[in-house]
Symmetry: D2
Subunit: 166 residues, 4 copies
Amino acid sequence: MAQPLAILVAGGTFDKQYDELSGRLFFRDTHVGEMLRLGRSRLDITIETVMMVDSLDMDDEARARIVERCRARSERAIVITHGTDTMVETAQAIAQAGFDGKTIVLTGAMVPYAFGSSDGLFNLGSALSFAQVLPAGVYVAMNGQHFDWDEVRKNRERGVFEWRPA
Amino acid sequence: MAQPLAILVAGGTFDKQYDELSGRLFFRDTHVGEMLRLGRSRLDITIETVMMVDSLDMDDEARARIVERCRARSERAIVITHGTDTMVETAQAIAQAGFDGKTIVLTGAMVPYAFGSSDGLFNLGSALSFAQVLPAGVYVAMNGQHFDWDEVRKNRERGVFEWRPA
Amino acid sequence: MAQPLAILVAGGTFDKQYDELSGRLFFRDTHVGEMLRLGRSRLDITIETVMMVDSLDMDDEARARIVERCRARSERAIVITHGTDTMVETAQAIAQAGFDGKTIVLTGAMVPYAFGSSDGLFNLGSALSFAQVLPAGVYVAMNGQHFDWDEVRKNRERGVFEWRPA
Amino acid sequence: MAQPLAILVAGGTFDKQYDELSGRLFFRDTHVGEMLRLGRSRLDITIETVMMVDSLDMDDEARARIVERCRARSERAIVITHGTDTMVETAQAIAQAGFDGKTIVLTGAMVPYAFGSSDGLFNLGSALSFAQVLPAGVYVAMNGQHFDWDEVRKNRERGVFEWRPA
């Protein structure tokens, strides 16, 4: 009865960790599996790590791989965890490539999940829910809200997503 | 552009705290406001604490008060935080009283938010998202899933929600 | 160069966990090993779980077992994790049995380690440090302080340890 | 009856926070006060923020200020929170300047306190305890151990403190 979902992991703040030897933030494995366990998820989810990059290192080639993976997946509902700084650009790339009748929801976090005070778990619960019930399309889910891919922007001064002036 | 939502707080595991003098779990104030801040929610939400009771202490009178508050609220989208053991019964009471064209989503937590490893933040993000996009009706949102009020039960042995055999 | 230490686990709030099926606090395994890893301890420590009981369930027989284990251990420095309500009584029992030239430090927590906001890690770091440098004797280490076994009491109203009026 | 202690804050990993707008680690206020509350400390402690710098930005001038503040403080027991990479050098500078009959203990953290999995609380409990009972001298307290200032080094590959070969 539950529809299958895919989570495509692209990295971003969501998955940053603290390297105690270098004192720097870095990527290792995604935390999405652990977050689903913490959330007691009973959804039928396949997690696919597409890449582990900083939002600012997301270029056209990386974006093309995400588009390709969205097309290749058989699930009709897909959540993409992505850095917030270029999440809107990736949403546009997916939508403009033609999203193939799927519901695709991009989400991320302002604070790494590995830190005590992350918004990641809230956003993941939110994105998975929107992905199950919104009509086909490409969306950004942040701050408890959902936006169509062509009506959203990140306000970098305030660290929030908001509707874009037409 | 954002629709107003209400969160009705009924207590439950969600809001239990540890009393370090007595060594017992108890209720004080709801954590819902803090959770919304952590989730960087930008939704237009009004929080109303209706009661602070254990799921097992939820009786017909308490349930009638929740029904009454659902009717009285002007928002079309309502999330109710509730103990998991009797969440389904309260959902039924609301639905049978006639839910008045609103989308009402009950959610809760298996582990108190104040503890390190709670599913509460995931569930809150999930419930708020379902409340925004599901058609009018009464639902339970747990484990990343949503259920109609009349098709769900709690599996107490496993601590999860599941579809009820017809 | 590092002296060997023993940690005797007696239970107490330190090790309480939340049972998400029953909604009650209970004991399973001690968290002391995990806490030492978190603290990056490089001490030569042996952990021995003597019992897992609530402070209020600590009776003379249980206390006699702790006294016996203190005697049996070969380490000269011993930390005992114990419920706070009867910690002073157990300290007295050990001291009155003759503590055999060892430095024995009892500690505990006001809030379970498994919860987000526990004093357990602070107390464990403190107790292990006192155990390494205090002269032979029986002590209670709580609230950053150390007390001789015969000069301390728990103030139950305030949830702190303090010097006992002579 | 409790002796007064001072905590001199010099920054270091201990106090790093995550800036959710820039995605970088930075310093704002020290977390030491919050950590003492969490540890339910009842010690008579004065916290003085001397500086907030990365261990690698600690230069001779900064070090001279710490030495000066150690001398100026009236307390006989002083804990210094400091970045781990140059903690040993600062301990040496204090010792060589003549530490004036005081017990001075440097400590730090491998992971910021603001992150979920920090060793900071363990180390702070440990350092405060050593500072109360060790004889006058300059020490480093890390990994549950204490070292004289002239017998310790940081093993950067392993991220631990260890005795230095003579």
